[in-house]
């Protein structure tokens, strides 16, 4: 049991090193986190390893509900009561960095180009030549498919192109009308819809913003092609798009043959003894030989400008992104943010048991995140309804035009 060992190590280190550390003047850094059980366990192990290596730094881990929209941290910053370190995600990093609330880690020895971290994830933390945090989570999107369902339909490989995705969806659909026994393809949650669209947009060579970020342009040729694919999928009775909770369960139990999802599936399968065999495959591309690419979502740990222990906090954040720390995440079935993690012992043990996890890890080389922009949230909010409209049967052109108008309005507000 890796976690048990680490816990023992933690106990040993606190008992043995405490007196020595006392003489050396210990720094305590406050670390807020609101992780799930899975991530929390990884984090506990990482902190234990960090404290063992840095006897002069103590980490006070405070369980914090961030609220769905970061109300907790935003108000803490406004009242000068922010912690030293916390996770951050979505557009908040750029917004906070833009307002000078985050510490630029280049002052503490982080290189502006970091070879130890996947470029896709590292891209998230760079802003105006600074590095405002380091990634801790990088979750690629891929196709999860039920192997039994694939065998029953005579399929061996996941779809490689969007045409195949549509074709397979039809082939994998069992039943019709009010009696669909098995859906061919599933996609769920409003955020996922937008990510799927952005993934397709990137795959067709498109971008959300123009070069200098002054305008949203996702209604260009690539956007329309992406919208067209979604529209065609939505027309299939065997595609359940905009499904809610429970999609992972559905694919693990053959209610849906394949879904567009991320590495959460492994933990789900771990906790469901009755789950069926599943495989994972790359996100399809427009053409057979296209350079593969997928969307990845990212989270980073940041040090706040209000911190009194910036140096120790920076040390902590740097450690958390290292292969040595990241292997504990892989042990908890999430890919690591650093390519070097593949050689770490804990990670290799996990890969051995979960070959799909290694596939997911390797997909990170070709993962790209959402565009960095200090107005990203309002643009994202314009993309979601557009995709929902397309699924609802609206013409992609008009849905995307309306969304681009809405997004540009928000951009003009600044």
């Amino acid at each position: 049991m890796p976690s048990g060992k680490m816990l023992a190590a933690l106990l040993a280190s606190t008992c043995l090193l405490a007196p020595a550390a006392f003489a050396q003047e210990t720094v305590t850094i406050q670390f807020w986190e609101g992780h799930s059980v899975q991530e929390e366990q990884a984090t506990i192990n990482m902190i234990a390893a960090f404290e063992a290596a840095h006897p002069d730094i103590k980490v006070e881990r405070v369980k914090t509900s961030f609220g769905t929209n970061f109300e907790r941290i935003t108000t803490a910053i406004a009242s000068n009561t922010a912690p030293d370190v916390s996770p951050i995600w979505s557009g908040f990093l750029t917004q906070f960095a833009e307002q000078g609330q985050l510490v630029d880690l280049t002052q503490y020895g982080v290189e502006p180009t970091n070879a130890d971290i996947y470029p896709g994830a590292f891209d998230y933390v760079t802003w105006n030549d600074g590095v405002y945090g380091l990634p801790y989570a990088f979750d690629p999107r891929f196709i999860v498919y039920n192997q039994e369902a694939f065998e029953a339909a005579g399929l061996t490989e996941p779809p490689a192109t969007f045409e195949e995705l549509i074709e397979y969806t039809e082939q994998l659909t069992v039943g019709e009308g009010s009696n669909i026994e098995q859906y061919g393809f599933g996609l769920g949650g409003s955020d996922s819809l937008a990510y799927f669209f952005i993934n397709l947009l990137y795959a067709y060579g498109g971008q959300v913003f123009n070069e200098d970020g002054t305008e949203a342009v996702f209604n260009n040729e690539a956007g329309l092609q992406a919208g067209e694919i979604i529209s065609r999928l939505a027309g299939l009775p065997g595609a359940t798009l905009n499904a809610g909770e429970g999609l992972r369960q559905s694919v693990l139990h053959g209610r849906v043959a394949m879904i567009y999802d991320g590495p959460w599936i492994f933990y789900e399968a771990l906790n469901d003894p009755e789950s069926e065999e599943f495989g994972i495959g790359r996100v399809p591309m427009p053409g057979e030989g296209d350079q593969p690419l997928n969307f990845g979502s990212v989270g980073a740990y940041v040090v706040y400008e209000q911190s009194d222990n910036k140096e120790a906090a920076a040390e902590f954040v740097k450690f958390l992104a290292s292969p040595e720390a990241q292997q504990h995440r892989v042990a908890m079935l999430k890919p690591g943010v650093s390519p070097g993690v593949r050689d770490a012992p804990e990670a290799q043990a996990a890969f051995e048991e979960w070959p799909g996890l290694e596939t997911a890890q390797n997909l990170l080389d070709e993962s790209r995140i959402f565009p960095k922009h200090d107005n990203w949230p309002s643009v994202f909010q314009a993309i979601i309804p557009a995709v929902e409209a397309i699924i609802g049967g609206e013409d992609p052109q008009s849905a995307l035009d309306a969304a681009v108008n809405q997004a540009n309005r928000a951009l003009r507000r600044g």
């Binding site: 799930s36 108000t75 406004a78 009561t81 369960q249 693990l252 959460w264």
Partner: protein, 309 residues
Amino acid sequence: MTVVIMQPDRPVPTAAIDRSRRRFWRAVLTFYLPATIVAAVMLFPLFWMVSISLRTNAEIFSYPPDLVSIPLRWQNYIDIWTDPRMNLGIQAWNTLVYATVRTFLQLLLSSMAAFILARYSFPGRTLVFYLVLATVMIPDEVMMVPLFLMVKSVPLAGGNDIFGMGGTGWLDTFYGLILPGVVSGYSIFFLRQFFLTLPKELEEAARIDGCSEFGIYWRVALPMSMPALIALGIFSFQFAWSDFTWPLIISGSERTRTIQLGLGLLSTTDGTDWAMLLTGAVISTLPLIALFMLLQRFIVTGVNFGVGK
């Protein structure tokens, strides 16, 4: 239900039996039957909630939907007490303190203002009432940020100087959690509406009997409005019990963390632990149900110790 006790040696007049039978069937048709049908509809989602709290996460999304999933997973109700993300015992205590103190202060302060607004006539009374009412028309979601900054700047609290600078004020304290919300336009409005219905004669009779003005409030108006006070008390307690956003930004540590915040920790960017969340939801609802069961009869019979009877 009316129970008719048959005593064989002393025959009950048939007319009486008929009457009580008729009364019984009338009660069934006009009350028990419709009430049970409505109850089934109201209860069904809650039954589902309990049923799901007795499953593993994997069983929640089973298809076809099962009414109950055997074996029942009572383990959830044990695990929740030791879940590292929640500290249910402390959180329940914190929530109890928050809800109880808030409720009593709210009842006291609101009934004072409502009494004057309903029973005394003075120039500007209607205007004051409208202004009080208007305070509930800005959504809490925007009030939160200024209110939060005020709580942080309470002078001479939490390391603050006389100008409210330098410390954290009432952040992460019960003062900050409770005090800003104890007077609300809703509660004053609510009690005013009830005080308005008290007969004027009563007040005058009390005055003639030599009752002081305070006595009229304390010994006439309050007891006679018991149903309303109990109802408001239940609302206020329940509001505090289920409040999420205000405790979220005010509470900074286990010291003031409430149950709802504990439940909030189960819902993360990496997904939600539904089984634990529902188990916690069921447990956290039990005190409220008990409270309502205990107090509902005062809403219905409270008027008895007034004059209505």
